[in-house]
Each structure stands twice: as C-alpha cells, then as structure tokens.
C-alpha cells in the first residue's frame, strides 16, 4: 500500500496541537503504520525529505525562520492543514497585536536593545500562504485530529462543526452561564465541536476555538453590555485567542 507521506510541524506555539496527536494513545500505532511520518521533529529524529501528501502545521508565524519553514512546507505539500487556534488566528501570543507595539513587548521582556527585530507580531498561516483545511481549538479535540487523518487516507477532508458552542451546550442541557448566571460567556459566537467542554463544568466559554461562521458579534456585545460588563473587558476577552473581531454596527 502506498502510505501518505505526512509532515507535522510546529511554528510559534506551545506544542499542544502536536501533543494532541501524541495523546491519541490508542490510535498512535495505527497512525504510524498507515502514514509515513517523514517529518515530525517532535517525535522523530530523521527527516525523510519532500514531497508530502499533507503538512499539518501548528502555531503562528512570528519569526523569519517560521516563515521560511512555512514556505518550505507549502511548496512541498499537496495539502496544508492549519492545526489549532494559533495557526488559524494567531492565538494567545497574538492577543495584543491590535493594542500593543511588538518592539515594546519585546523590550519589556528582554530589555531595550536586546532581541530587536528577531521576531514580529504573531500572524496566522493564511496571511502568508494558502491553507487547504483548518482544525480549530486550543488545543484541538482529539476526535477532530483522528477524523482528519482518517479522511486523508481516503483522499478527502472531514466535515467539522459549523455551529456555535451554544448548540452543543444546550443539547447537554447545561445551565446557561450567560443568561441564567449572567457571566461573560462567549459561547454564542464561538465555533462548537468541543461538546461545550467548559460550560459543562460550569466555566464560561473563553473562546479558544475562534469565531463560528456568521457569528453575530454585535448582538453578543449588546447582550454583555446590557449585563453590565465593560466594553474593554469584553473586547479583551474576545481578543484572547484572536486579535481582530468585526463588531459590526456596535463599533
């Protein structure tokens, strides 16, 4: 059998998306048998060389080295998959992109004059190359990663959730943290697929999966302002995983 050649790479990130694959303990042997893991520096010390059937890339782009690596992966892969919130939206490292100057952040950590110009504001893969498929999440759900790999074996891509966290939260019959407990829950505008993990343990949706398609951000903002949250607080929370939101008529 011709095994698809995979590259699994990390750019600027916490390695959690790659770890999610390594956390699929029961499927790992199968994955190793069905794919050729030709480039996977986190788990393999040899490089099997290009080309790749697919490159699965975690992390944001924030250094010239990240960028060179991304171009290499794009140029040598049939499919490029953005794995996780950092790769799709920039993620936590990008949260201050629209409110702070990168040089000042770097100077605050390393001191003025040190480490100047070696990195830039973290940006999603799509800002630089075309992306064929995305799996969101900080980190992504294991079942979504396995669904992707299974689909790749049959030469296709998997269907993923296109509805908000609220849909899953409601079907689990959880208490609504936003309406009934008046907490700052982002569930209505965030893409589901996580089975409402956080609200199901009584904790507000922090928005780690990014916006659902057709998110009504203006309405969510309206709801939260009515409940007494400050605009700054709400925007800060929305920015945690994705710096830029379109607030529509509430701008």
């Amino acid at each position: 059998m011709n095994r698809p050649r995979l590259a699994i790479a990390g750019l600027t990130a916490c390695s959690g998306c790659q770890l999610t694959l390594l956390n699929c303990e029961e499927d790992l042997a199968e994955v190793a048998a069905r794919f050729e893991l030709v480039s996977f520096p986190m788990a393999e010390s040899v490089e099997g060389g290009e080309p790749f059937a697919a490159a699965i890339v975690e992390g944001a782009v924030s250094t010239p080295h990240d960028l060179a690596n991304l171009f290499r992966l794009r140029n040598s892969s049939r499919l490029l998959v953005a794995l996780g919130t950092c790769a799709i939206f920039g993620g936590v490292a990008a949260m201050n992109n629209v409110v702070s100057v990168r040089e000042e952040l770097v100077a605050a950590v390393y001191g003025k004059g040190e480490k100047k110009g070696e990195s830039f504001a973290p940006a999603p893969l799509e800002n630089f190359v075309s992306v064929d498929f995305s799996i969101t999440g900080c980190p992504p759900e294991k079942h979504e990663v396995i669904a992707l790999l299974s689909a790749l074996l049959s030469g296709t891509l998997p269907p993923l959730a296109t509805y908000p966290v609220c849909t899953e939260c409601r079907s689990r019959e959880n208490l609504c943290l936003l309406l009934e407990r008046k907490e700052l829950c982002l569930g209505p505008v965030i893409r589901g697929g996580c089975h409402a993990r956080c609200p199901a343990t009584g904790i507000v949706c922090e928005g780690c999966r990014g916006p659902v398609r057709e998110a009504n951000v203006a309405q969510e903002l309206e709801l939260l302002l009515e409940r007494g949250f400050g605009r700054d607080e709400v925007e800060r929370r929305l920015r945690r995983f994705r710096p830029e939101w379109n607030y529509g008529q509430r701008r």
Binding site: P41, M42, A43, E118, P139, G202, I203
Partner: protein, 423 residues
Amino acid sequence: MGSVVELNLTRVEGHGSVKVYREGSRVERVELCLTDSPRLFEALLVGKSYLEVPEIVCRICSLCSTVHKVAALLAVENAFGVEVSEATALTRALIMQGGMIQDHALHLYCLLLPDLLGVPGLTGLAQKAPELLKTGLAVKRVGNMIQETVGGRLIHPVNIRLGGLGLQVGKKELLRLRQELLSVIPACREAYRLFRTPFPFPELPSPNALALEPCENGQVTSARCRMGGGNSFAVAAYREAVEESVLPYSNAKYSKVMGKEATVGSLARLCLGVSLSTQAQAIFDEVKHEILDKDIRGNSLAQAIELCDAAERALELIDRLLDQAPGALGNVTPVPCQGSGSAACEAPRGLLIHSYGFDADGICTYADVVTPTALNQGAMARDLLALARGMEGEDTEKMTMALERMIRCYDPCISCSVHVLKA
C-alpha cells in the same frame, strides 16, 4: 581552520539547536540556542484581570499546562490571601500527579527510549519494540485520563480554577481512575529497569541540585527552595537568589541560582531528599548509588522512580478524596486587592515559579515566570561543553548524537523556556 557543527534538537518540545565551534579537532566553545520565538507572556499579562491570568499563562506549555495553571492559581491566591478547601487542594494534587505520570511516560517511552534502542523515533519504536511502546502509552494514557477527568480538558485544564473547582470529581470517576491506575501500577514499578544503564559518555560535571522543599501532606507548594550544600531561599524572595541574563544566541535567559548553574528536575529532587511512596522508596533504596552524586545521565532513572511514585501517590490521593464528604467543594471567591504573590511548584521537569502583582481592581501590573528549562539552561550549556571536549577527535556524527542525547536527558521543554521577564 575553525569549523562550526550545528545540530537541531529533535524529540523535545519546541525548537533549538546546538553549535559546536572547533579549531581543528579542539572544541573552542559550544552554544545552546533555544530559538523558539518569544511569546512574551509576561508582557501580555500586564493589563489583564486576575481571573484571566491563569487561563492565559497555562498556554506557555502544553505538556506542563496543568502545573503552570496550578502555579498561577496559587500565586494569584497568594496575592489575595485566599485559602482553598481541602477537597480543592487534594484535587489539585491529584491532577499534578496525573501530569507527572503523563509527562514522565511520554518522555521516557516515546522520546528517550528510541536513543536506548538505537532507533530514530516513534515509528522505529513501533517496529522494533511495539510491546514496550504499548506499555508506555498505556501508562501515559492513565496520566492523561487523570488530567482530563479532573481538569475537564487534557491540555490547558479548565475545571481547576481560582478558589476552587468547577465541578467536584464524582465518586464514580474517582473509582474508574483508581481501576485504571491499578492496571498500570506493575508497569510503573518495573519501568526503572529499562532506564538503569546510562549512555556511555565521558563523565560530566556533577549537578548543583535545586528543588522545592518537600511539601506538607497533600500540598503541591512549599514556601522555600532548597539547594545542594545546605543552602535554601524563600520562594517569596526568589528574585534575590535567581539571577538572569540575556544571551545573544538564545531566546531563553541564562540563570544562575545563588551564584551557581543549577540543575532542576527528577534527579535534583531525589538528590535533595523527597519523601517517596513505599514502592518508589524501595526502588530508590536499591538504585540510590546509581543516582546520588551522578551526573545528568541519572535523570532518566530518577524519572522512572518518580513515575512509580506519582502512580502510587495518585492512588493515595484518590482514596483520600473518596473519604471526603460529598458536596464538600468549599469554593472561595477571591476578592481582588492591591498586592503581589508568588508560588513555586515542581513541574515534571523541575522547579517552576510564578509571580504576579495586581492593582486594587485586580488588574495585573507585572508578571514573572521562571521555568525549569530556563533554570537548567546554564547547566545544559556547561555539560554540552564538557561532553564536546571529552569527545574531541571523535567522529563528528558520534559527537553530535551524544550531545543531543545528553540534552534529552534533561527533558528540556524549549517552548516553555523562552519568556522570562527582565528583572
């Protein structure tokens, strides 16, 4: 003529490389470049609410997200004078043991074992030693199950929160975890046999061990850190003990602790004397002479002993939690006030310190995180140089392979190391 040999580190979390500068066969110097892009967490946290700090900062590292979260919760609680209930403290201790199990199992069986068996990685392992890999993954899975059941999510847990828990872990779940743990206890007790033979390197400098002082019953933090030679310092005053400087070629800061290049992690903990579970103590007594006063190559064996310790402790903690009265969650709501707080925990790969300052509204005014890999960086560089010099004249490939293996003994987590606030 001078030459530079560069090797990229693999089978570690994050990105890094080692450069060996040679003059003929003589090794002039060695640079350890931890080149993950800085994510600048400390700067990003300034201006965020105290409620957000633990949620954001646990994203420093996926493998240690549990311990980062716990350390951040403890530091914020320390700043506001919050004391959590016994159920919360025990639950945090349990999730920390889950983290220890999964991390040590991943490192030992998936990242380090290939070196011992002479294969390049996971795929080779699956072919050459499928049963061993299966055993390792089964142990890791139980560590993950603990973290997921207790934390609500495996990476970046959500159920552990400021002042308490989202949901109490149910009796049924605890009994299931107990069952799963029992199924891997034999493997955890036997693991040390695999990691007893250290790599045949020239001898390396002996480490200056640094670890948290042993925690009191059921606690995951302690007020003081201990160093070899009878030295110690208060966590609250860590800034006076830990000196950091910026290196031109590495994004992680170079630390000296009380003037020395410290070594943190399993080896350091065992050298400084921690109380171990019954079986782990028995193993330690048997192999003590192979660990104490030895160099970093002993760290793998120390990790294997801790793997057994963590599994047995997790069982004890589950039993204690099962004894707790139902509904004894006892969450406390922190009231923000101006102040600062610090906390230190033992991450699987070593001492971790979080420290924050807040204004009267609970908005973060400064943040500082000292990670194990940043602490270890000095010792790693020192050992790299010693090893490279000890192998002068050897085949280049042989030398670089040895250097990479030695670095892996430290179990470095590079993505966690690269964001240390300027003191």
